[in-house]
């Protein structure tokens, strides 16, 4: 229809222009220009009222102030750990859905996995808070069972943040894993088994190489979402959550130091992008293919 040989040339041009305009407006006004602006913002320093000079001061502050880069490294390490644990937890369920369960059972289990993610993260976090806080469900259950004498506070620990992060990430790991495992031919596994391979060998030499695209896609998405998460670390981790997105928020909204906030934003973006690239390189895949998979 558009760009087709039929019709006069100017008509095709007009059609193309009409299709290009919304896309260019969307990407230009909401993605490209704002990020250029953010970059400019992060590379300047306020020297007086409404007077700015170009400088690297914001980035220097980040590297010289231990609090900032410690939170940055902490966020990165915890996100990596959360990604890995999510993969471990999601793999068996994906295997059960793709290989063990049959027909209706398989789709039922898959839909059961989807349901919690139809409601917002806020609601799910509320559930964890009711379960884990000192006056909550699990601490009082522990007292009833005689495991602890008094209710213990299960909120505001790093482990709590980790549980919350894994919980919100599961779906994004399960979906790509299921779709990559479903395409694995059972005959390959049977053949390996007949030839005497045990479970671990089959997993290492057949299943993981085949599922690698799905694993990469899942890991990239989960890492990105975890790194950029705000609500889970701040609510489940309380005052000591020390998540990097929280620092960006503080600089921007609380302290109104936009230059510093912009620099933090770029550092987070750089880390996230670097991880995406490393992930793709490791699995030898292209960006577009991965995104279409999820």
């Amino acid at each position: 229809m558009i760009g087709a040989a039929a019709g006069p040339r100017w008509q095709g041009r007009l059609g193309l222009g009409l299709l290009l305009a919304p896309a260019v407006l969307w990407l230009g006004a909401l993605i490209v220009l704002p990020h250029v602006d953010l970059a400019v913002l992060s590379l300047r320093e306020r020297v007086g009222p409404r007077h700015y000079v170009a400088s690297l001061a914001q980035y220097r502050t980040f590297f010289t102030e231990p609090l900032y880069w410690r939170v940055f490294v902490r966020t990165a390490v915890m996100s990596l750990l959360a990604t890995f644990l999510t993969l471990l937890l999601a793999f068996p369920i994906a295997w059960i859905i793709a290989k063990l369960a049959r027909g209706r059972w398989s789709s039922l289990l898959f839909i059961l996995c989807l349901i919690p993610f139809w409601v917002s993260e806020t609601v799910r976090t509320l559930g964890w808070m009711i379960l884990l806080r000192e006056s909550g469900v699990l601490p009082s259950l522990l007292v009833k069972l005689g495991i602890t004498r008094t209710p213990v506070e299960l909120l505001y620990h790093d482990a709590t943040i980790m549980v919350g992060l894994i919980y919100t990430s599961l779906l994004f790991m399960v979906i790509p894993l299921v779709s990559s495992l479903e395409s694995l031919d059972n005959a390959l596994i049977e053949a390996a088994y007949d030839l005497g391979a045990g479970g671990p060998t089959v997993l290492r030499t057949i299943v993981i190489p085949h599922a690698a695209p799905g694993i990469t896609a899942g890991c990239i998405v989960v890492f990105m979402l975890t790194l950029g998460n705000y609500i889970t670390p701040t609510l489940l981790g309380g005052k000591d959550s020390q998540w990097f997105t929280e620092q960006i928020y503080n600089e921007f909204i609380v302290r109104f130091n936009w230059e510093q906030g912009a620099a933090f934003g770029f550092l987070l973006l750089a880390l996230s992008t670097a991880m995406v690239i490393v992930g793709l390189k490791l699995a030898g895949q292209r960006f577009g293919d991965v995104m279409r998979r999820t």
Partner: protein
């Protein structure tokens, strides 16, 4: 291991145990939220004090403000609905246009443009939020300096929230709709053209009905994602807060079970939307 291979009893038991534990983990938080919406106590915490509907129906006279008496919460539900409606309409419209651009048009730089379209999905929501906030504020400053006009649209508020959410939800709509357009059999279109139908008629009677499941699906997804968005919204929100931001504020302070009530309402509403969507998807013409 797969069903056609022998499995030990131990392995079967472990699989069953894992399934139970996994789904308990998945559903426990939601069940707890739902159950404590009906607890007759001022805090959503055990022990169970008996069943009540106060957290839905109560008003200030009764001493307990229920969901339907909480003007603040009801207002933010409405705000969320308005924002989500805008985001959905914009995303589906641009998603359709982008689908034709990617699947049908030929122009230099197309490859780069389609990769750029995916970028919003790999930019953390918080950064989308602050970059749009900073850019809008610079624009506002520029318009003020150059023309002496004060454009409120560019200050933090609902129009910016819509822009922020739209900036990445548009990508999802684009992917969904162009995936369906890619599988379209173009001979149908050619046949209709041969039989004398105009381009507009072909679009209306053949292409659009074919795309319908993807359009409805991406509308449902856009609406749900907009309703659930927090990261981008938090950075761009003004005086009127959408529901997630209002709930977040109250959760920090330690709220009454009215939050459980609103959460239960959200669960039911999104389940309803998702089920309708999946019924539509199961229809024979869907692919």
């Amino acid at each position: 291991m797969i069903p056609s291979l022998p499995r030990t009893r131990w392995l079967r038991a472990a699989t069953g145990g894992y399934l139970i534990a996994f789904f308990a983990f998945l559903f426990l938080p939601l069940v707890v939220v739902a159950v404590f919406a009906f607890n007759d106590a001022p805090y959503p915490a055990p022990p169970w004090h008996g069943f009540t509907l106060d957290w839905f129906l109560g008003n200030s006279k009764a001493g307990r403000v229920g969901l339907f008496g909480d003007a603040d919460l009801l207002g933010s539900i409405w705000t969320s609905c308005v924002v989500a409606a805008w985001v959905t309409a914009l995303s589906v419209a641009i998603g359709t246009s982008n689908a034709f651009l990617i699947e049908r048009a030929r122009f230099p730089g197309k490859q780069a443009l389609s990769v750029l379209m995916l970028a919003p999905l790999v930019i953390p929501g918080v950064i989308l939020g602050i970059s749009i906030l900073a850019f809008a504020s610079r624009l506002a400053q520029f318009i003020d300096d150059a023309f002496g006009l004060d454009w409120d649209v560019l200050r933090p508020g609902l129009p910016l929230v819509v822009c922020g959410q739209f900036s990445y939800i548009a990508t999802i709509a684009t992917l969904t709709i162009s995936a369906r357009l890619r599988r379209f059999d173009r001979t149908l279109e050619e046949a209709a053209l041969n039989l004398g139908a105009g381009k507009a008629a072909v679009f209306r009677t053949i292409v659009l009905p074919y795309l319908r499941p993807a359009l409805l699906g991406s509308a449902a997804i856009s609406f749900l994602m907009s309703f659930a968005d927090f990261n981008t919204t938090l950075m761009l929100v003004g005086a009127d807060a959408p529901l997630t931001v209002t709930m977040y504020g109250r959760m920090r302070e330690g709220a009454t079970p009215v939050l459980n009530a609103v959460s239960l309402f959200l669960m039911l509403a999104s389940a309803l939307l998702a089920l309708t969507f999946m019924r539509g998807k199961r229809a024979p013409d869907a692919g």
